[in-house]
């Protein structure tokens, strides 16, 4: 059975994609920019950061591009003034939630959050900082998690569970009090499940997860080729 090819328009341009593909996939293939944070190629989509929201003609609601499947005849708008305003505000909310002082961060200059802020033209944060008092856990021999830089995108949770198969990370509490925890809320160094693979560190979009011994702006995250790893895993090799 062949997969049907669907045609749709994105920002007025006619494009096509395979049934089962998301708006984000088709948009990126065709060179459209839609910002994303929680989404990462190779991991299941959470649809949680809400940055990738797009407009679809005929629907009053906005839709997350990373999870919404394309449909025949769909007319998608990826960057109206309204969408840009919402996206800036969402990034600003993330900055206001915890302590993001880029000047002293290990990933300064190569942080996804910082880059998106620049791309979206954010030069100040309109919301007062909530600055909760959060710990830094340096108990792991090679890595550190600084909760003050965490944006709760759950990439680490998903890569550890879905690709590494260790399921070390999860989330405790709810709402603004949510926090990433290792195992049953133990120090990372005491985790009995962590294999030390470092995948979580490299998918983390911010300076929340980093390698020990890295100083300001020294931590570079490597692309892991997750779709490839996932394909290998699915083959059972």
């Amino acid at each position: 059975m062949t997969t049907p090819i669907l045609t749709l328009t994105i920002d007025g341009k006619e494009v096509s994609g395979l049934a089962g593909e998301t708006i984000l996939q088709v948009a990126r293939e065709n060179g459209f920019f839609i910002p994303t944070l929680c989404w990462l190629d190779g991991l299941t989509s959470a649809g949680s950061c809400r940055l990738c929201m797009v407009e679809i003609k005929g629907s009053a609601a906005l839709h997350p591009a990373c999870i919404t499947l394309i449909q025949e005849g769909m007319a998608v708008t990826t960057s109206s003034e309204r969408l840009l305003r919402y996206r800036r505000a969402i990034i600003e909310l993330l900055f206001s939630e915890r302590n993001h002082v880029c000047a002293v961060c290990v990933v300064n200059g190569h942080c996804e959050l910082q880059t998106l802020a620049q791309q979206l033209g954010i030069d100040h944060i309109s919301f007062p900082g909530l600055y909760p008092d959060l710990p830094v856990d340096a108990s792991h021999p090679r890595f550190v998690i600084d909760h003050n830089r965490c944006i709760l995108c759950t990439r680490c949770v998903r890569v550890c569970g879905e690709i590494e198969g260790a399921h070390t990370w999860d989330v405790k509490n709810r709402g603004v009090r949510s926090q990433i925890v290792a195992d049953f809320d133990t120090p990372w160094g005491d985790s009995t499940t962590c294999t030390g693979c470092g995948k979580c560190v490299h998918v983390c979009p911010t300076g929340a997860l980093f390698e020990k011994g890295k100083s300001v702006a020294e931590m570079f995250k490597k692309p892991l080729g997750l779709p490839y790893l996932k394909a290998i895993r699915d083959l059972g090799v």
């Binding site: 809400r50 940055l51 919404t68 505000a89 909310l93 206001s96 919301f127 709810r174 709402g175 603004v176």
Partner: protein, 538 residues
């Protein structure tokens, strides 16, 4: 044959009930305190007077007028006594067949009783919630028998669709349409869920239904299972409702023992089992996708829809999920027919709706009215108006997801459409009467704190946005707000409403937006002027 068994139980129990000259019904809801003592005192008195062959004392579910509770009903004659204490037992028993106890008497022609239209609450406070025979004598399970032996699943789907029943869990989605989608969906087994998570502050409709007529909910679920082809059902109920859980367990066990649940129900080819799952009291677990994840044993987080549970729900299978009250409506729709049912209410909002009437109101309690009834009748006739010379300011519906209707618009009929038009929602049935001494800023700050604390934290706008909105609102409460804060407040509400992942975030700004629409001046009054600016820092 099992049908005959049911007929036999019914006949025997009717014969048993008819032996007694008097039935004394005592409310045994969770909301009426001390009813065990009253039951005991009445029982002792009856024994002392050697009236055990004449007087039957029974515990029943909620009779509705909680503010006058504990309530006792004497039948025949339907005498209702209010605020009964154990010490009143002697007098009550002595008065049987004579002059009623005037001092306790509650007039039966109170508007509270006469203006209501009881459909799902019909048996509430009239039967023993833990007695299957009681439910059978009251006509229970006739709908299921009719469905199983005189109707095809498609007939039932048509019947529900024609009735125009809409989901009572808040959003008002057409029930018939949902059922047809599940019936048509590919995949097996199919699951069925009863959403009894009821988390809105001030709402206790579902709790009362579960405690008062658990069999009616099971019957509705079983009819639904037959119509959509589901073989396994779950009731997701909050652990904070221990009495409801206890009664449900008992009802499930009795139904299983009498072949009203389980294998080959009543000799038909329907197999349907029901299990209880306890929720740990997270508001977000009432959201259907979070609820499903919670039943699967995972953290209760919503996920984006589509796919809807009707297509991919529990364990990835087609799943029907409805509210307690929705299921409780099913038996009467089946037995009375969709035309009878559709005549109640208005064209687009049909049937009756149960409300939990609370706040500054004389008659707090549980009421059921035909949809379309103006709020004014509910507040002043059924509710008896406001006590202590208070004037009405607004009526809040839909709890933390709803809004307020100001006193000036009190003639608004209670329908899904008219409440939506005013920026509120029908919700699940919480109705809070607000008097003129209350501050709208305080009320919406309370609701926003609730949403902030109950946000699951998955998506950015709801997680951080509700916290920011709450901080802004406390600035208004402390009279330290500025015009810029007001602008920011409206902008954040717009953002959270339009970009949040699930209904919790999408509706969290509703109370604020509604208060800004009808009581904007109260917010402006909290804004710092230059003058009081100086007062603050002398």
């Amino acid at each position: 044959m099992p049908r005959e068994k049911i007929d036999r139980i019914t006949a025997e129990h009717r014969w048993f009930l008819d032996q007694f000259n008097y039935h004394i019904l005592v409310c045994a809801g969770l909301g009426c305190p001390g009813n065990d003592d009253i039951l005991r005192a009445l029982g002792q008195t009856v024994r002392n007077r050697q009236l055990t062959d004449e007087v039957l004392i029974r515990k029943v579910g909620c009779m509705g007028l909680c503010s006058a509770g504990p309530l006792v009903l004497i039948r025949p004659g339907d005498l209702m006594y209010q605020k009964v204490q154990p010490e009143d037992a002697e007098e009550i028993i002595a008065s049987l067949g004579k002059k009623p106890v005037e001092r306790l008497l509650l007039s039966p022609d109170l508007a509270f009783f006469t203006r209501q239209h009881k459909n799902v609450l019909r048996l509430s406070g009239r039967i023993d919630p833990e007695s299957l025979p009681d439910y059978l004598v009251a006509g229970g399970y006739q709908a299921l028998l009719q469905a199983l032996f005189a109707m095809q699943p498609t007939d039932i789907l048509r019947c529900i669709q024609e009735s125009g029943l809409r989901g009572r869990g808040g959003a008002g989605y057409p029930t018939g349409l949902k059922w047809s989608t599940v019936a048509r969906a590919q995949g097996s087994p199919k699951y069925l869920i009863c959403n009894a998570d009821e988390g809105d502050p001030g709402a206790f409709m579902d709790r009362s239904l579960l405690e008062s007529t658990p069999y009616a909910i099971l019957e509705g679920m079983t009819v639904a299972a037959y119509a959509v082809g589901a073989s396994e059902g779950f009731i997701y109920v909050r652990a904070e409702y221990p009495l409801a859980v206890q009664r449900l367990k008992r009802a499930i066990r009795d139904a299983e023992q009498n072949n009203l649940l389980g294998h080959s129900i009543c000799g038909s080819n329907l197999n349907f089992r029901v299990q209880i799952r306890l929720g740990a009291g997270a508001f977000v677990c009432g959201e259907e996708t979070a609820l499903i994840r919670s039943i699967e044993g995972r953290r209760g987080l919503p996920r984006p829809r589509p796919p809807y549970p009707a297509e991919k729900g529990l364990r990835g299978r087609p799943t029907l999920i409805n509210n307690v009250e929705t299921y409780a409506n099913i038996p009467s729709v089946i037995t009375n027919g969709p035309e009878w049912w559709a005549r109640l209410g208005t064209d687009k909002s049909r049937g009756t709706k149960v409300f939990a009437l609370t706040g500054t109101i004389r008659n707090t309690g549980l009421i059921e009215v035909p949809m379309g009834m103006p709020l004014r009748e509910i507040v002043y006739d059924i509710g008896g108006g406001l006590p202590g010379g208070h004037a009405l300011k607004a009526v809040q519906t839909g709890g933390p997801s709803g809004g307020c209707i100001p006193a000036a618009l009190l003639d608004t009929p209670v329908t899904y459409e008219s409440l939506n038009e005013l920026g509120s929602i029908m919700g699940s049935g919480g109705m809070i009467v607000i008097d003129d001494s209350a501050s709208m800023v305080d009320i919406v700050t309370y609701f926003m704190a609730f949403c902030r604390d109950e946000s699951c934290g998955k998506c950015t706008p709801c997680r951080v946005g509700t916290a920011q909105i709450h901080n802004l609102l406390t600035k208004f409460q402390n009279r330290k707000a500025t015009m810029a804060d007001l602008e920011m407040l409206e902008w954040l509400c717009d953002l959270v409403r339009n970009t949040s992942l699930c209904g919790l975030g999408q509706s969290a700004p509703n109370p604020v937006l509604s208060a800004l629409r009808f009581f904007r001046q109260e917010f402006l009054d909290c804004i710092l002027t230059d003058q009081n600016h100086e007062e603050v820092r002398p």
